[in-house]
Symmetry: C2
């Protein structure tokens, strides 16, 4: 009896065994969200679920109940944004140890239901339980497609340009501040990093625009770091990728508290930015039409022939394999 | 700052604050499942979520991974059955401590996906996480209405007869065997009780038939014991109820291992039978047409004017209030 060595391996087992078995399932296990087709409905429904555990995903000392609620729903909504869906509804399972006050619960639910966290999704149910071992949160969010246009992780082709929204490594820089005992952020950039860590906002508007544009081959959200997530997109698309280190959108201010911004951008995780691939022929069309109110985008790399490997290109150096150093729950 | 004293109170707070806010929500917080209406779809979608925690809801020593998977999905499917819905899809969030083997996971998922546990619902996604504190399972199940006929907890009226499917207290008798150290059940009735505890089957066929019949005013499933669940149905319907002790369908065999069958039937929980109310004028129609292949039903009590109180009637005695002695996660 072997012990589990990686989350990807379990997901692969589940995919092999419990893959799509019904025409009502457009997408099952293995993407950011499942896509189903209710009978005679105009649109697809998208379903995603994410769990947050005290001591693993958060610490009570570092977060307020409002921040915890905010982040718990935001990470689920991000999965819907990554497929271009409109958030509609969500349910919350919450297990709490004795000692949690009614005020804590009120603030938690208040964070869950803010416009910037839930992005329009309405709370419709859940489950409550007593816990002997810390707080546990499990959320399921439902989204709806627009004109049945949904983007998957698969669909990328060799030659596609790789884009990301926003900046990478900011959330990890905020986590670093917490880990090194920074209780009150002093500078503006420290506040920004802490905010990115506790109050991430799903890129719903950009996700929807990109899905509707017809210019994008595939998309996903960056939750575990580009070094973990890009290989997943490559594997789903049956390609490899090259990323250019000088093009990675880093958060340079984190150098001031002794972080390596590039390291955090590649392996940090929890940025909840969008990663997407666009054919080279559509580059101009994309960059001309992409709304100026959204985060600026430029190509960060491209997809190449191969079998799921991500290469790092640095000027004046030989290309190297980007080892998978992002966060994997099942790696010790 | 007060400590929480009851699950019902938290649910009431959520209901007051996050009640229905959209015409797409037919039913939100506070019933067995939420009921939503996808755009232009023929049918409603129903959504329910339930959490199972090691040390609270189960112990690893007492259950095999297959049994655990079976029960985890069955308790969710039971919520759909209680509204008359057809189970369609489900997602699973699973957090496991190190030391859980790949074989354990395979068997857990095998229990999750059996015909008698999932009742046709297909696994479409989920989340995996490492846990420092035991196994945690959170499942969200989706069902579909038939002809938009859905039964709620509300809708019962004074004079309605109260029915339950099957026998009550069998699962609690099985739990009692486990708690008193019975590793291998000896008699047929012990095996039956253990089976009821570990492998409960949602009453989907009966639930669907009852919803389609047009004879039923309201329905719910019995998960926390009739002494906890009936007051919830009464409160939702704005009535009180009287139950006749001699009519409660008990599991008398549990006397052989020193249980009080009536006590377990009233307060035991985890039977996952259906509780429903039918107007007196429809009694004959119901009992004549109810399929003979389903568990036999006879009236166990009736709804009366009042505000959510459940009274117990025993021949030759004054009626008494049925104190709420079922399982409440938040009562110490």
């Amino acid at each position: 009896m072997t012990k589990l060595t990686g989350e990807n391996r379990i997901v692969q087992f589940l995919l092999d065994r419990y893959g799509i078995k019904s025409p009502a399932i457009r997408k099952g296990i293995g993407d950011d969200a499942a896509v189903i087709q209710p009978r005679n409905a105009d649109e697809y429904m998208l379903l995603t679920t994410d769990m947050l555990l005290e001591g693993i995903d958060f610490r009570q000392e570092w977060t307020t109940p409002r921040q915890l609620g905010f982040k718990s729903i935001a990470v689920n909504i991000s999965d819907l944004a990554a497929m271009g869906a409109r958030p509609r509804f969500f349910t919350v399972s919450l297990a709490i140890p004795s000692g949690i006050t009614e005020r804590w619960i009120r603030e938690f639910y208040s964070g869950l239901t803010e416009p910037n966290s839930a992005k329009g999704a309405l709370l419709i149910g859940g489950d409550l339980s007593y816990s002997k071992n810390g707080i546990m949160i499990s959320i399921t969010a439902l989204g709806e497609s627009t004109n049945r246009r949904v983007l998957y992780r698969s669909g990328g082709r060799p030659g596609d340009l790789l884009y990301v929204t926003g900046i990478l490594g900011k959330s990890a820089a905020g986590l670093n501040l917490r880990e090194t005992g920074c209780i009150r952020p002093r500078s503006r950039s420290q506040k920004e990093a802490i905010r990115a860590h506790h109050l991430p906002e799903a890129r719903c508007e950009a996700g929807k625009w990109l899905a509707q544009s017809g210019l994008v081959h595939c998309m996903m959200d960056l939750s575990d770091g580009i070094s973990m997530d890009l290989p997943r997109m490559c594997a789903a698309s049956g390609v490899s990728a090259e990323i250019r280190l000088d093009k990675i959108p880093i958060f340079p201010e984190s150098r001031m508290w002794n972080c390596d911004p590039l390291e955090l951008a590649l392996h940090g995780g929890e940025d909840y930015e969008l990663l997407f691939a666009v054919p080279k022929t559509k580059r101009q069309l994309l960059e001309m039409n992409y709304p100026s109110g959204f985060t600026k985008i430029t190509p960060r790399g491209e997809m190449i022939r191969g079998e799921g490997t991500v290469w790092v290109v640095e000027s004046g150096k030989r290309r190297r394999r980007l080892s998978e150093l992002g966060y994997d729950h099942f790696r010790s």
